[in-house]
Symmetry: C2
């Protein structure tokens, strides 16, 4: 009851008490999924003030846009701005021992190609967090060609198999209506190797203009490779736990909208990249500009290898989310993933 001066330290542009109250509203609301009333806040904090005092502060917080009231006689709910403040002033939490060891364990035992690992990782992430996860493996636009090979399927069909320096492999059909002999194909394969090894997909190649079968094959093959370039560069996307979407939102329409977005890989990739570019770890509500995801928060962590961002992982859940835990998990997995690939390149 007795009055002392307001505690000086301001956190952001909110005085300490407002910040405490806002934090309490967020944590409480995340727990209960219900609007939070002034007395609940008073009880949850160590401010030792009466609900009435909390109420005045909450009015201010609402006026400043951090809180909202579903209706007059209900408690308060955090707005996107409120969540934003919350995560911006979150002290970095460590991930629990159990989780930590589960992540370690996973990466100790996971085997197989990069693609498989990333897919498994997306499953791991969604299991750990109970949210939908997205793992993006960067395209290999800057990777150079290590080897190409033209393989004979039948008289008129060949397959161009290309191996890149980042360990990815692509294939392209090459059709040849006129037909070519096996030695011709072998010779074309040899010439393609000479032509393409060391180049990247962006670079332009000098192709032979002769009219013989070998030259024709070489031309066909290189054009198949370069025409498809934009698509191959395309990142791989792995989505884990999409069923979690149905748990996160109770409006069927919201579920449908979110799932619908997740189906569009291009949209998902650019969403993740945008958040990554903006150098934020979290996009809350409508911050990312995708209207159907305005009820979601997206947490992103990059996977950096040798100073280069080679991928990213994302977690998508309702704005009402345990940011601390989920962010810590994302960080932990991202770290381990980096270590995993840093330790054994190409595997």
């Amino acid at each position: 009851m007795a009055r002392r001066r307001p505690p000086p330290v301001a956190s952001g542009d909110l005085d300490a008490r407002k910040a405490t109250i806002l934090r309490a509203v967020v944590t409480e609301h995340v727990d209960t999924a219900q609007p939070v009333g002034s007395s609940a806040v008073a009880a949850a904090t160590d401010l030792e003030v009466s609900p009435a005092t909390v109420r005045t502060e909450m009015v201010a917080l609402e006026r400043e846009g951090y809180l909202a009231q579903p209706h007059t006689s209900a408690g308060r709910v955090p707005t996107d701005k409120g969540y934003r403040f919350f995560v911006d002033h979150l002290e970095r939490g460590a991930v629990g021992a159990a989780q930590q060891s589960r992540v370690r364990d996973f990466f100790a035992h996971v085997r197989g190609e990069m693609e498989d690992v990333l897919e498994q990782t997306s499953k791991l992430l969604s299991q750990l967090t109970s949210h939908t996860s997205v793992v993006v493996g960067a395209g290999h636009s800057r990777a150079s060609v290590l080897s190409v090979q033209l393989v004979n399927l039948d008289a008129h069909h060949h397959l161009l198999v290309t191996v890149f320096s980042d360990g990815t492999v692509t294939k392209h059909s090459v059709m040849d209506a006129a037909g070519a002999s096996a030695p011709d194909v072998a010779e074309a394969s040899r010439q393609l190797n000479a032509l393409l090894i060391g180049t990247t997909l962006g670079s332009r190649i000098q192709v032979p203009s002769r009219a013989d079968a070998v030259a024709r094959l070489v031309r066909e093959a290189t054009s198949a490779l370069h025409e498809a370039a934009p698509t191959i560069e395309g990142e791989q996307v792995y989505i884990g736990g999409s069923s979690r979407v149905a748990e996160a939102f109770d409006g069927v329409e919201t579920v449908r909208a979110v799932l619908s977005i997740l189906e569009q890989e291009l949209v998902v990739v650019s969403l993740i990249e945008d958040i990554l570019d903006a150098d934020v770890a979290v996009a809350i509500g409508s911050e990312h500009g995708l209207e159907p995801l305005s009820a979601c928060a997206v947490i992103v962590a990059p996977v950096v290898l040798e100073g280069e961002t080679v991928g990213a992982l994302g977690l998508l859940g309702p704005t009402r989310m345990r940011y601390r835990e989920v962010m810590a998990t994302a960080q932990a997995v991202s770290d381990e993933l980096t270590r995993h690939f840093g330790g054994e390149p190409g595997a």
Copy 2:
């Protein structure tokens, strides 16, 4: 109460009038999503009987398990058995001209590798039917090796790239702690070719037991290939329109359960294969034994190439589904898909 003999003409084990009534209930219920009353049936059919008569028949149909009543004073709803009768006695419908041309158009313009085509096809299917689609590409367990190549990534890492006769390409990491020179790798690659070309994944290979670098590489590579065999054989699965699940069911829990099943590729594949094996085109409700899908119907069509089932496509929706249209679409797409791959192998 009075007992008379059942009217002669039976369609299946139902007399003609009961069948008509059952059909009417199904079509009406599919349209309206509401229980169907006797007068609605009387109006919808050309039986020219009064609702009262329809009612007596419906009582019989209910007793025999074709219809059910949500509650005493409601209309009737088809049971799984009712739907089963309906689809079993469905005259094969043709797909509409608009759809037909859309399918044609799709396959006329689609380009790229088999994998891409299948993925696109799953999207097409879900767009055409408004249901979730599954496209399964059979594994290449019986395909033989056309070519293998060992590519040097760095001192201790190599990549085994294998091309199969069905046009699929796999890659496997091969580690070599001791290190090998570039000529060694080339030599190993040559030997692997000699060893593996023409074999299938099942066949056992005689590997050299010498201790030199080349032999070591050859051993490592073959074992990598064969260890992974069960996984590579694994079919590819493409799921399209998973957001449709949210439209089909209004219980959030059902949506979650169905999505959860769809996430498990193995389960999906074996579901489709089971239905295919049982030689039925449709599994309704609990017929397939997957409890979480008991509110679903699954329509399956095989993709047959040269007498061999090389894949399948499935459509998953609520039991309350337009079977005629959806089955016709599945058939049409399956046909075109067969033609597409039959016409231009490997492309």
